[in-house]
C-alpha cells in the first residue's frame, strides 16, 4: 500500500513541460486544420471557417462548402493519422524494433488485398462489412510476418519478411485488377491511399473499432513500460509477455485495418511518428502514446495539405506524400541505428 501511495504522489506532481508540449501540439493541429479547411478550389478565409464551425448558416455557400465537403476530409485525416501513429508505436514497442511500421511490414497491403477481393468478388456483402475484410487481411499478413521473423528476431529479418509479404499481397491485388479492368479504374485511386476519395460514411463504419482500439491501447501502457526494460525484467514484474504481444498485435491489426478500409494503404506514418514523438518524450509510454496521436494527426493534415498544393489543380494521393516524407527518414534511421 505504501508503495502505491508514493507512486500516486509522484504522478500528482504536474509535468508542466509535457503538458505544455501537448498544448502546443493541439494549437498546431488547430492552425493546420484551419489552413486545411480554407484550402481548395475556392479559398475561404478563417473568419468564415470559424463561423461555419460555431454558428453554421446553411444559406451561406462558403460555410456550406466547409461543412458539407471539406470538414469530412479533415476529420478522416485526423483519425487516420492518429490511428496509424498509434499502430506504429505499439508495433515498434512489441517487436522491440525501430524499423517496424504497419505499411512496411505488409499489414496494409494484406488488408488492401482483402478489401479489393471483397469488392470484386463478394458484391453481395454491404460495404459496411469492408472493415471486417480489412481486419481479416491485416491479421493474416501480421501473422505471416510475425511467424516469418519470429518474435525475438532482428530488425533486418522483420523488414525482409515484411517486404516478401507485401510483394505477395501486392501481386495478388495486381492480378485481380488485371483480371477485372473495371475494378482497376474504380480502385486505382484508393489503392495509393486517398483521403480525398473517402467520406464520413466510411468513417462511420469503422469508428467504433478505431475508438475502441485507441482506448484499449492505453491499458497496455504499464506493461509496455515494463517490457521496455527487457523481456526478463517484464516477466519479473509480473507482465504476461505473450499476452502483451498478442494483444498489441491485435490492436495494431484493428487500427491499421480500419485505416485501410477508410483511406487505402497509407505507409510510413507509423514509422516516422513514433521517432518524432520519442525525440520529445522518452520515458513513459503514456506520454508517448499521447504525443504520437497528436503528431500523427498533425503530420497527416500537413501531408494532405501538401498533396493538394503540390500539383495544383491535380491532387496527389496522401499515401504518396507520406512515402516521400517517410522513406528518407527510414534511410536515416538505417544509417544511424544499424551497425
Amino acid at each position: 500500500m505504501a508503495l502505491n501511495k508514493e507512486s500516486r504522489h509522484k504522478v500528482k506532481s504536474v509535468p508542466v513541460a509535457k503538458l505544455t508540449g501537448i498544448a502546443l501540439l493541439l494549437l498546431a493541429i488547430v492552425i493546420a486544420s484551419f489552413w486545411h479547411l480554407g484550402l481548395g478550389a475556392k479559398s475561404v478565409d478563417w473568419a468564415t471557417i470559424w463561423q461555419a464551425l460555431v454558428a453554421y448558416n446553411p444559406l451561406d455557400s462558403d460555410q456550406a462548402i466547409i461543412r458539407e465537403s471539406r470538414q469530412a476530409r479533415l476529420i478522416v485525416a485526423l483519425f487516420v493519422g492518429a490511428a496509424l501513429a498509434l499502430a506504429g508505436v505499439i508495433m515498434q514497442a512489441i517487436s522491440n524494433n525501430p524499423l517496424a511500421d504497419p505499411g512496411l511490414l505488409g499489414i496494409n497491403s494484406g488488408a488492401a488485398f482483402f478489401v479489393v477481393a471483397s469488392v470484386l468478388f463478394l458484391p453481395m456483402f454491404d460495404s459496411q462489412y469492408l472493415p471486417i475484410f480489412a481486419f481479416l487481411g491485416a491479421g493474416i499478413a501480421a501473422m505471416l510476418v510475425m511467424l516469418l521473423s519470429g518474435w525475438e528476431q532482428n530488425s533486418e529479418r522483420l523488414v525482409l519478411a515484411g517486404v516478401a509479404v507485401t510483394a505477395m499481397f501486392a501481386a495478388m491485388t495486381a492480378i485481380l485488377l488485371i483480371v477485372d479492368q473495371q475494378g482497376l479504374e474504380k480502385l486505382r485511386h484508393w489503392l495509393t491511399g486517398a483521403i480525398g476519395a473517402s467520406d464520413l460514411k466510411k468513417l462511420y463504419w469503422v469508428y467504433p473499432y478505431l475508438i475502441g482500439a485507441m482506448v484499449l491501447s492505453f491499458t497496455l501502457v504499464r506493461s509496455l513500460n515494463a517490457f521496455h526494460l527487457g523481456t526478463r525484467v517484464a516477466e519479473g514484474l509480473g507482465v504476461n509477455v505473450l499476452l502483451l504481444k498478442v494483444s498489441g498485435l491485435v490492436l495494431v491489426v484493428v487500427l491499421s485495418g480500419s485505416v485501410v478500409a477508410v483511406a487505402g494503404p497509407i505507409g510510413f506514418v507509423g514509422l516516422v511518428v513514433p521517432h518524432m514523438a520519442r525525440l520529445l518524450v522518452r520515458n513513459s509510454y503514456l506520454w508517448l502514446f499521447l504525443y504520437a496521436l497528436l503528431i500523427g494527426a498533425l503530420l497527416l493534415i500537413l501531408s494532405d495539405i501538401a498533396a493538394r498544393v503540390a500539383l495544383r489543380p491535380y491532387e496527389i494521393n496522401t499515401g504518396i506524400i507520406t512515402a516521400f516524407v517517410g522513406a528518407p527518414v527510414f534511410i536515416v534511421l538505417v544509417l544511424r541505428k544499424m551497425r
Binding site: 523488414v159 517486404v163 501481386a171 495486381a174 483480371v179 479504374e185 516521400f324
Partner: protein
C-alpha cells in the same frame, strides 16, 4: 546450405570435360548430372510452352516444328517461330540473368534473403521506363527504351551503394536502404500510374507485372549478348565468390581484393538485372528462389552453382509464363505475377527453415 536428404547421393567423382581441343576442366559427376538433368527439363519446358496457347498443339508436333520447320504448314511455323519462341526464349534468358544476379547478391552480401529486387535496380529501371512510357510517350524510340531503363537501374543502384557505404559498408545496410529507396520510387511510379492516361497505364501495368507479350527476336538477341558477356564474367569470378561466402576477412586473407571485386560483382548483377527488366519488366522473386533451389543440388560451389541456378531460373520463368498464358486462357497474366504467387510461399518456407537452423 544442407544437401537435400531425399536426393540420391553421389560419390565424389570427377569427370574431365574438354569443350574445345586444348582446354579441359574437371567437373564433379553430381554437378554434371544435375546440369544435364535441368538442361533437359528446360528443353522440355520450352517445347511444352511452344505447344500451349490459344491454338493448342501436341508436344510432338511442336517439337517437329521447332526442329525441322520446313515441311510443316506455313501458319503453324509462323505461330511457333514468330509469336511463341521469341517470348519463351526471352523468358528463359531473363530468368537466367536474374538468377545469376541473385547468386552474386546473396553471396556478396552473405544474406540468404537478398535478391535483385531488394537493391533497387528493378525499381530504378521500372520507374525510368514508366516515365518515358507514360509521361512522354514517343520521345524516345522504343529501341532505346531498354538502354534508358538500364541507365536508371545503374543510377539507383550506385546511389544506394554510395549511401550504404557512407559510414562503412555493411550488407544489412545495403539491403535495408534498398528497401527504403524502393518504396520511394514505387511512390513515384504510383503517381504516374494514378494520373497517367488510362490506356498507357494499362500497358505499363502489364509490363510492370513482368509480362513478355511484346517481345521480338531483336530483344532476344540483345538479351543473349548481355547474358553471355556479364554471365561469363560472373562465372569467371567463381573462386572469389566461393571465398567471399566465408567472410570478408577470410576472403581478404586468401588474396581476394574486396575493395575491387565486390563493386565489380555488384555491377555485373546490376547489368544482368536491368537488362532483364528492360526486356520483361519486374520478375520479382526469381533471383531469390532459383539460387536457393540450385544450392540444394550443388551447395555453395559457385563454379557449378552459377550455371545451375541460371538453368533453374530459366525453367521457372518459362513455367510462369506458360501458366500465365494457360490458366485464365483468353486473358494473359504476366509471368512476374504468377512467379510471385509461387515464390512468396517458397520464401516463407525458406525463412522458417532458416530460423530453425
Amino acid at each position: 546450405m544442407r544437401y537435400a536428404g531425399f536426393l540420391p547421393r553421389f560419390k565424389t567423382r570427377f569427370l574431365m570435360v574438354s569443350p574445345f581441343p586444348g582446354t579441359s576442366f574437371y567437373i564433379r559427376s553430381s554437378d554434371a548430372f544435375w546440369l544435364t538433368f535441368f538442361g533437359a527439363l528446360l528443353a522440355f519446358m520450352l517445347v511444352l510452352g511452344a505447344a500451349t496457347g490459344s491454338y493448342q498443339l501436341s508436344l510432338m508436333k511442336s517439337w517437329h516444328i521447332i526442329a525441322t520447320p520446313e515441311p510443316a504448314p506455313d501458319r503453324l511455323v509462323r505461330i511457333i517461330w514468330e509469336f511463341r519462341l521469341p517470348r519463351l526464349f526471352a523468358a528463359a534468358l531473363c530468368g537466367a540473368a536474374l538468377s545469376i544476379a541473385g547468386v552474386i547478391l546473396q553471396s556478396v552480401t552473405r544474406n540468404a534473403l537478398a535478391s535483385p529486387g531488394l537493391i533497387g535496380v528493378e525499381a530504378g529501371a521500372s520507374v525510368t521506363m514508366l516515365v518515358f512510357v507514360v509521361m512522354a510517350p514517343g520521345i524516345i524510340p522504343a529501341f532505346w527504351l531498354p538502354v534508358c531503363a538500364m541507365l536508371g537501374g545503374f543510377l539507383v543502384a550506385s546511389f544506394i551503394w554510395s549511401l550504404s557505404s557512407l559510414s562503412g559498408y555493411s550488407p544489412i545496410r545495403l539491403v535495408l536502404i534498398g528497401v527504403g529507396i524502393t518504396s520511394m520510387l514505387s511512390a513515384l511510379s504510383e503517381i504516374l500510374i494514378t494520373y497517367g492516361d488510362i490506356d498507357l497505364v494499362e500497358s505499363a501495368l502489364m509490363w510492370l507485372g513482368g509480362s513478355l507479350h511484346q517481345v521480338s527476336w531483336l530483344q532476344v538477341d540483345v538479351m543473349v549478348m548481355w547474358l553471355v558477356v556479364a554471365g561469363s564474367l560472373a562465372w569467371l569470378c567463381f573462386r572469389q565468390l566461393n571465398l567471399l561466402v566465408l567472410g570478408d576477412k577470410v576472403a581478404f586473407s586468401r588474396g581476394v581484393n574486396n575493395r575491387y571485386i565486390v563493386p565489380f560483382l555488384l555491377l555485373l548483377s546490376v547489368a544482368l538485372t536491368s537488362s532483364s527488366v528492360a526486356t520483361a519488366g519486374t520478375l520479382t522473386f526469381v533471383g531469390l528462389i532459383a539460387p536457393h533451389i540450385a544450392r540444394r543440388f550443388c551447395a555453395d560451389r559457385h563454379g557449378a552453382l552459377i550455371p545451375l541456378s541460371a538453368i533453374i531460373g530459366a525453367c521457372l520463368v518459362v513455367l510462369g509464363d506458360t501458366l500465365g498464358r494457360a490458366v485464365f486462357a483468353p486473358l494473359q497474366l504476366p509471368a512476374g505475377l504468377v512467379l510471385v504467387l509461387v515464390g512468396a510461399p517458397y520464401f516463407i518456407l525458406l525463412m522458417s527453415r532458416l530460423r530453425k537452423a
